[in-house]
C-alpha cells in the first residue's frame, strides 16, 4: 500500500464519520421537534371542561356577565333603574300575501291598532315598515302562533324605571343611545356603561312617604312645588330627596320645563329664619357674645334705609335661645352686629354654604351670598335674607349643628367607612343648639309646635321668607316656607328639611304649612328606621338636653 492510498482511506473514514454525526444531529433535532409538537397535540387533545370554562371566562367575561347598562339600586337593593330587551314589530309589505287577512290577524292581538293606518302601511312600496315600537313577550308569542308572513320582530335595549316617578330627580335619565344625561345616570355614566350596578343611599319606602306627605300639603295649600330631604346626621347619607313637581322617569324625553328642575339641589332660595340657627350657633361658639347676654327687641331696628321688624313683637330684652324660639329678626340682627361680617362669612364658608355641594349629582346650585360686608347685609344674612342656598345646603348645615359640631356633607352613596370631617362647632355649642331647637317645637311659644311628633323629640327651626322677584325686590304675597329639623333631639339620628314654594291662603307660614309635614313624616318613618318613641317618664327623654327659660308675650316665665 502506497502512502497516497493510505491517506485516501483515512479521508474516506473521516467523511463517513462526519456524515453519520450530521445525520445523528439532524435526527436528534427532528426527534425533539416532533416530540414537542406531539406533546402539545396530546395536551390540547386532553382539553377538559375546566380549561374550557377558564378560557371562556377570561375572553368573554365582559360580554356575558354584563350585557346591559348597570342597574341602579336603592339602599335595600330594590331596583330603581334597569335595562331590558324590548321587541319591536316590523313588516315587509312586499312579502304580504293577503293584506286584509294580515290586518285581521294583527287586530286580534292588538285591537287598538288603527285599520286605516295599517292598510296604508301594508300597501306602501317600502320594504321595512314599523308597526309597533314595543311589544310584550306575550304578544310576541301570540304573533308566532298566528304565523303571519312578512313579520320581523327586532330586538333593542330600553332603560326603564319600574317605580315611575319615585326619585326621578335623583336617578336622572339616559338619551336614546343609552348615555346618561341627568342625575345619577349622568354622574356615574362610565361605571353604568361598563355594566356595573350602583347602590345609592335612597330608601324607596322613605322616599315615597316623604313625597306623598309633601305632595298632600302642596295640594292643600295650592303651592307651586316643594322639596324634602331626609339625611343621616352621622354620615350624611341621604335617605330621601324629593323635588316636586316631579315626573315619570319613563317619559323623560317628552317632558319640558319646571318638572325637570331639581328644587332640592339646584334651586337656590332665601330660606329666611332657618338661618337664625347658624347665627345662634356662631354666637355661642365665638367668644364675642356672652351666653347669658340679652338683646333688646322692643322696638324696630332702623339701619340705612331699611327697618327690621319682628313678626311677633316682644317688648323686652331676650336671650339667644329666646331669639331662636320666638324667631326674632331684631334679636338676630343685633347678634350679627356683635359677631361682625368676617366671623359670619367665615362660618358660612366652613359650613359649605358659599360653595356648591359635593353631592353626586350634576344638578347642583351655586349659593349666592352678599359679601359686601356692610352692616345691613350682615344683619339681613343673620335671618336668611341676602343669602340664597339650596334646601340640601340647609339640611347639611343643620346636620353639622346637631352632629356635635362635626361637618356633615350630604352623599347619595352608602358610606362603608367613616369619614373624618372637620369640627365646626364644639360639643357644648351643639348640645345647646339641640336644646334650643327642641324648644322651637316643644315650647308653647315656639314657631314649629305643629312639628311635634309624640315621643320622637323633634327639634327644628322654621323660616318664612318672601319670594325674591327676579326683576328686583320681593313678592309681598308669595312665600317660601321652610322647616329644618332633626330627631330625636337627645341623640339626633336624622335631619328632615322641608321647603314649600308659594303656599296660598291666610295661614301660609312655615309653622302652619311645613311643620305638619315633618310631624307626619317622623311618625311614619321612625318605626322603619328602628327609632323607638320615648315616653316622658323615660330616663332618656330629656337626657342630653338643657333647659332654658323662654318667656312669652306677657313676660311669663315658662320652661
Amino acid at each position: 500500500m502506497s502512502f497516497f492510498q493510505f491517506q485516501n482511506n483515512n479521508t474516506q473514514k473521516n467523511d463517513l464519520k462526519m456524515r453519520r454525526l450530521k445525520l445523528l444531529i439532524c435526527g436528534a433535532l427532528l426527534f425533539i421537534a416532533f416530540t414537542t409538537i406531539g406533546y402539545r397535540t396530546v395536551s390540547l387533545a386532553g382539553l377538559n371542561d375546566k380549561t374550557v370554562k377558564n378560557s371562556f371566562r377570561s375572553v368573554n367575561s365582559k360580554n356575558l356577565i354584563h350585557p346591559f347598562r348597570g342597574n341602579i339600586l336603592d339602599r335595600n337593593n330594590n331596583l330603581l333603574a334597569t335595562t331590558v330587551n324590548i321587541s319591536s314589530l316590523n313588516i315587509n309589505p312586499q312579502e304580504v300575501l293577503d293584506v286584509n287577512q294580515t290586518i285581521l290577524k294583527l287586530k286580534k292581538i292588538f285591537p287598538k291598532l288603527n285599520r286605516e293606518k295599517l292598510l296604508q302601511k301594508l300597501n306602501s312600496n317600502k320594504k321595512h315598515v314599523q308597526i309597533l315600537r314595543e311589544i310584550s313577550p306575550r304578544d310576541h308569542v301570540s304573533l308566532l302562533k298566528l304565523g303571519i308572513e312578512a313579520l320581523k320582530i327586532e330586538s333593542s335595549k330600553k332603560r326603564i324605571y319600574p317605580n315611575h316617578s319615585l326619585a326621578s330627580h335623583v336617578l336622572g335619565n339616559t338619551d336614546i343611545d343609552g348615555k346618561g344625561i341627568a342625575g345619577i345616570e349622568k354622574k356615574f355614566d362610565k361605571v353604568l356603561a361598563n355594566g356595573e350596578d350602583i347602590s345609592i343611599s335612597i330608601h324607596s319606602g322613605i322616599q315615597h312617604i316623604t313625597k306623598t306627605l309633601l305632595l298632600e300639603q302642596i295640594n292643600q295649600f295650592k303651592a307651586e312645588g316643594g322639596a324634602g330631604i331626609i339625611m343621616d346626621t352621622k354620615n350624611g347619607e341621604i335617605y330621601a330627596l324629593v323635588s316636586l313637581p316631579d315626573y315619570n322617569a319613563n317619559n323623560y324625553n317628552k317632558l319640558l320645563g319646571n318638572k325637570l328642575f331639581n328644587k332640592a339641589t339646584k334651586g337656590i332660595y332665601e330660606l329666611g329664619s332657618t338661618l337664625k340657627l347658624i347665627t345662634a350657633a356662631v354666637a355661642l361658639e365665638s367668644n364675642l357674645i356672652n351666653e347669658n347676654e340679652v338683646f333688646d327687641v322692643s322696638s324696630p331696628l332702623r339701619i340705612s334705609s331699611r327697618t327690621i321688624r319682628d313678626y311677633h313683637p316682644l317688648n323686652y330684652a331676650i336671650s339667644i335661645p329666646e331669639v331662636v324660639v320666638h324667631s326674632s329678626n331684631i334679636g338676630s340682627a343685633k347678634i350679627a352686629e356683635k359677631l361682625g361680617s368676617s366671623t359670619q362669612l367665615k362660618y358660612l364658608k366652613s359650613l359649605g354654604l358659599m360653595d356648591k355641594l359635593s353631592l353626586e349629582l350634576p344638578e347642583l346650585g351655586r349659593p349666592q351670598v352678599r359679601t359686601d360686608k356692610k352692616l345691613l347685609t350682615t344683619m339681613t344674612i343673620s335671618y336668611g335674607h341676602g343669602i340664597s342656598i339650596t334646601p340640601t345646603h340647609l339640611a347639611s348645615a343643620t346636620a353639622t349643628i346637631v352632629n356635635n359640631g362635626i361637618r356633615v356633607d350630604p352623599t347619595l352613596l352608602i358610606s362603608n367607612s367613616a369619614r373624618k370631617n372637620k369640627r365646626i362647632f364644639s360639643k357644648k355649642t351643639s348640645k345647646t343648639m339641640r336644646s334650643i331647637m327642641r324648644l322651637v317645637v316643644s315650647n308653647k311659644n315656639g314657631t314649629a309646635k305643629q312639628a311635634e311628633a309624640s315621643g320622637y323629640l323633634v327639634g327644628g327651626k322654621t323660616g318664612t321668607a318672601e319670594k325674591t322677584n327676579p326683576a328686583g325686590g320681593y313678592f309681598k304675597k308669595q312665600n317660601i316656607v321652610t322647616l329644618t329639623s332633626a330627631f330625636p333631639m337627645n341623640n339626633p339620628r336624622f335631619v328632615i328639611t322641608v321647603m314649600i314654594d308659594n303656599p296660598k291662603g291666610s295661614k301660609r307660614t312655615a309653622g302652619w304649612v311645613a311643620a305638619p309635614v315633618v310631624n307626619k313624616i317622623v311618625t311614619r318613618i321612625a318605626p322603619i328606621l328602628n327609632i323607638k318613641p320615648q315616653t316622658k317618664s323615660s330616663v332618656n327623654f330629656s337626657r342630653n338636653l338643657l333647659k332654658f327659660k323662654i318667656r312669652g308675650k306677657d313676660k311669663g316665665a315658662i320652661l
Partner: protein, 100 residues
C-alpha cells in the same frame, strides 16, 4: 430495508395529522357548544332583567301602600303602639310604688 429513524418520523407525522384533525373537530364542537351556551345565558339574563323589573314594579311603595290600606285594612303605626320594654318596667315600678 426501512431504517428505524425514518419509521419514527413517519409514525410521528401520521400521529400529528390525526391528532390535529381530532383537535379541529373537537374545537369546532366546543365552539358550537360555546355559542349555544352564550346565547342561552344572554336569553336567561335578559329574562332575569325583565323579571327583576316586573318584581320591582309590583313592589312599588305606592302600590304596596294601596294594598295595605284597601285590601288588608292596615293603618300606620302610632307612637302609642310601640312599647319600650324598659319603659314598661319603669311603669310597673311606678304602679307598684303607688300601691295601686
Amino acid at each position: 430495508m426501512i431504517k428505524y429513524p425514518s419509521f419514527l418520523v413517519v409514525f410521528l407525522m401520521i400521529f400529528t395529522a390525526v391528532s390535529l384533525y381530532q383537535i379541529k373537530h373537537f374545537i369546532t364542537k366546543k365552539e358550537i357548544e360555546l355559542a349555544e351556551t352564550n346565547k342561552a345565558i344572554k336569553t336567561t339574563q335578559s329574562d332575569l332583567y325583565i323579571l327583576h323589573a316586573e318584581l320591582s314594579y309590583l313592589k312599588r311603595p305606592d302600590r304596596l301602600e294601596q294594598i295595605a290600606k284597601n285590601k288588608l285594612n292596615m293603618k300606620g303605626i302610632l307612637p302609642i303602639d310601640i312599647w319600650n320594654l324598659k319603659d314598661l318596667v319603669d311603669a310597673t315600678k311606678t304602679f307598684n310604688e303607688s300601691g295601686l
